[in-house]
Assembly symmetry: C2
Amino acid sequence: MRKGCLIVVSGPSGTGKGTVCGEFLHVHEEISYSISATTRSPREGEQDGVNYYFLSRDEFERMIEKGELLEWAEVYGNYYGTPLKKIEEQLGAGRDILLEIDTQGALDVQKKFPDGIYVFILPPSIEELERRLRGRGTDSEAVVTQRLAAAASEIAVAKEYAYTIVNDKVENAVRILSAIVEAEHARTRNNVEKINAMLKGV
Amino acid sequence: MRKGCLIVVSGPSGTGKGTVCGEFLHVHEEISYSISATTRSPREGEQDGVNYYFLSRDEFERMIEKGELLEWAEVYGNYYGTPLKKIEEQLGAGRDILLEIDTQGALDVQKKFPDGIYVFILPPSIEELERRLRGRGTDSEAVVTQRLAAAASEIAVAKEYAYTIVNDKVENAVRILSAIVEAEHARTRNNVEKINAMLKGV
């Protein structure tokens, strides 16, 4: 049986990668979403095991020590990480799984899963990204400036990803992401068993 | 401007690769078809410059000498080959071009165009391939046996192709081929200029 594919999606804040991933998973019910673990408090409406696994610092640090996290980072005093066991289970069962993480995490994951599908979501332009960040109306001027600087340094890492999607329109981005996953399924290295079986029949 | 992609499709006789390529090009009018050169006589209805470039042996051999063929072979006393100039022109103009050639030719092309998109079309099974070859009713028993043996040795080369499509249904195969081409367009290496331009804007 074919193993599942690990799909890793990153992109700067404001590119709409969350919306793209959400729509993509809505269309592809056969693909799982990797739920992250975090020590930050749940926001209104967030559910444990749905949005995140909400853990105490002790629980999280125990996972780090036992090597149970594929990648993790501490951001503004909170831990965020990707539990490894679920991913291995799903991939082993032939199920694709989507991981939405930052560039630092993605680079760590690449070392362990070099055959994963690495996709970077770009904004149409820096100006458009700025417009979107301001348009949210939730962030102060200082935060917008900070996010833009962070975006630039993240975009510089885009070259480490096999694929790049410009999110000009969500439907286009979702279509391209779907094409990438379908193409990856057609990779010869994912079909070697089929070819060998066919040659045995000769 | 993005350079065009070279799409190379191979597969054993009877897999329906001609139908898949024809349907694919019908859907993707933006993609060109590379017309082969040959010294064999035109069959009923075949037009020079449409189905093939029909050349004399002298003309063909002159092209070989001048290095004007991307690949060529002599099969049953006739020459077949791929004129290089048209391909380079189209790719340079940012136009994708599809090349339908045998495995030997494709391996030669890979050396010159390592970034090409190499796709192998497989039959659903050897039994189904045999059924299709007999179903044509045009070939003698000896020819069917010969084609099956040739198919087996071609399938053994499928592992040299990045992608493998099982042609169970033409519409599925065309959809997967379209996905592969769309995914290749999203390859980061095809979008480096876009990323650099974006970083300049920061």
